[in-house]
Subunit: 307 residues, 3 copies
């Protein structure tokens, strides 16, 4: 056997690694992955101990679903592939991990929501739940949700269900604790696996940003501004778009997804983005609870976003 | 039941989450918390598996203590509420976790220190010990310490007992390993729980900053300067003050809390801050060990801090 | 017993900690460590529970090896201590953790590689393997490798065997997952333990940098540029040199250690550094596979590094 022969010039190494012993060579590409370079091992694992043979993540097979239109942002509307305006009428169910523990994760739940007239189901995935169950378990649940929703011609909102300040990594409750790194890893995996799936339409990047710890005061979760938060959101959007340009990133402002006042002059500098607002009753209400007063306040507080 | 109806303008979502299924709605605020928004669950846990019902942290009930003056920084002195100068005469006991394992954590220890004439007890909390025992266990210990000290009219110094470079997160020993994030979380919890408690007077943010790994050389724990360290200290002070404006943040310089040479021209830019110095004998000593020589060296090395 | 007496000026503390109760005083310095300050405990552990007595890391005893020349970078060559040019002819074996599990970690492997004519063995240490086995176990293996290689007058390349983007901490596979912090800790420990050992000649800081997740596209592992990556490499080199100025840091460019195109105008701004190139066959090949064509392409792609 000829031995590997390293060239040397100005301390320049060439390590020609013999496959026989190499720890980073690959014999074939992995199924379900885009063609490309893969330096990992891809043989099946003889045992879980073989960390070097842990399988690579797979892409969801969109061809196994019935045809469904991709939804896109156009101007101030959502539109179907044939240009029709579309409105997401959604219900946010509980965390798939919670529902599974309560034996309530099943197609019947989706059918019930469908009967209510909703065309969308929101899956709030709590970081703590994500870690407890692991990505493999969660992808099995999201796959089920995609098949159930697709069969009902409904859409899914994947919601990274945290509350707090992702910039300082301080949160409102242990179930919301995550990191910038874990959040990027989550969206990278979601965007990679469901990149071809119209049913998984909306990526809600971070449920409710706030720097106020359950009302203890501004910056009680550390500093954050719309500008700094917007920069972070754009980083996640860029990452998502590398994998899936058809995803609809859904972004939110501070005050638990209530404050979008700065979007008017400082919008997110990416195309195809949607904004979320969570107008809990205690946030603001008109002096008299008439429909007219409600709309007047709505226009004042949010109308500028909707021109 | 009427279904939630989302408004849509320029990809703007309004998700009105039905309480029935919502994973992020709350029906009442948590006990012991400042009034304010609370999107977490607060019902008691049916089992530890119910991660979504993990209770929120509570505030220590200061009314259960006997009256004791808050201590504040005024000019170059500490003062009581009625303006009298106050001197902390303290003893640093061992880590509550270590003392508990050795069956030496009891009121008798506090009484003994009190007999020595000390009016202050320092609790050095090692990050490793904090993680081993958890915040719940540690708060139970600090609560005991607060009651024991209060009964003796003594004060506590809470000391985040790490040694190393928090900026690069490299440390002198495994027992000192922490992160910027864990340190912020620690102080946030301390300042939230003991915000009304005069007994818990001093918050020693980071015991001994150093970029020298047990004498292996400057920057052997990575880079750090007084300016960069001061910026980090100010971030923690800002966070603490959101919860507790009566706390006395205690800060230290490099060389294991010995070097304050730059404080003269570059002090911490916050009010009410105290400086710590750990003058171990090997650090510096006069040629002749007379009291006069000691004071002369003291004035030279630290006098500039004391004008 | 006299009680400690704190001086006070402008909120300046002096805590003279009584050794009896102190949680951060030391009675003697640790074996194998450079003389210097050591605030940790050094007594032997009565039990593993004594986290405060965890021993400090030791330095490898180079005097137990047979004499071997240190290798250094000089101009565009490696040279021995007596100035002779030296070429590393190496084989990259598998991860010591993997080989141990397969009962293939033994001196015989080193002897076989030596029979092939190689003078160098590369130890690819996967971050996942490093964490699974722990630093103590790994240092025992690297110690063995150093003795085996030294006995054969061979050299070692310590390779932190990750693939991905260390700047965003996103990687190609779970076995490569690490953090900037863990990477610094790894090199700090390696440089501290083997600082006197000529056999452990080369520190390959990060095996294969890439921002492309197995071919899914540029920045699919987040952003990274040669400039930002170079800054990070220089930080690690600075850290390594504090402990061991005789180490040869080996650095790589993007595209899985293939792209060094910017080194010509933007080299790493440190002395004594070597560059790695991993020219896998699929990367580039001349139209006709002649030796001449190969060298022509080589000169074009890498020659500029070798002037």
């Amino acid at each position: 056997m000829k031995i590997p022969f390293p060239w040397l010039t100005r301390g320049l190494f060439v390590l020609l690694l013999p496959l026989l012993l190499s720890s980073c060579a690959s014999t074939r590409s992995t199924d379900g992955l885009a063609p490309g370079q893969n330096h990992g091992f891809t043989a099946s694992q003889a045992s879980a101990k073989e960390w070097w043979n842990t399988p690579y993540p797979k892409v969801f097979d969109a061809s196994s679903l019935k045809p469904q239109s991709f939804i896109a942002v156009k101007g101030n509307s959502f539109v179907t592939e044939d240009g029709k305006s579309f409105i997401f009428r959604g219900v946010s169910i509980a965390d798939p991990g919670k529902l599974s523990m309560e034996k309530r994760w099943n197609k019947g739940l989706f059918e019930e929501v469908h009967r209510w007239g909703a065309n969308t189901i929101r899956l709030p995935i709590h970081p703590l739940s994500w870690r407890k169950h692991g990505s493999e378990w969660f992808f099995a649940r999201i796959d089920e949700a995609a098949r159930w929703a697709n069969a009902l011609d409904m859409y899914l909102i994947i919601d990274w269900h945290s509350m707090g300040n992702l910039e300082t990594e301080m949160y409102q409750h242990v179930m919301y604790e995550t990191t910038q790194r874990e959040t990027a890893d989550f969206w990278r995996r979601i965007a990679h696996r469901y990149r071809d799936v119209p049913t998984v339409a909306v990526y809600e990047i971070f449920n409710e940003p706030t720097h106020d710890y359950i009302g203890t005061g501004a910056y009680s979760l550390g500093k954050s501004t719309w500008e700094s938060w917007r920069n972070m959101l754009e980083t996640y959007i860029d990452l998502i778009y590398v994998y899936n340009k058809k995803a609809i990133p859904l972004v939110a402002g501070h005050n638990w997804a209530y404050d979008l006042t700065q979007v008017g002059h400082a919008p997110v500098r990416r195309q195809g983005v949607a904004y979320a607002i969570h107008p809990y009753p205690q946030k603001a209400r008109p002096a008299d609870p008439s429909r007219e007063s409600f709309f007047a306040m709505w226009e004042k507080d949010l109308g500028f976003c909707c021109g």
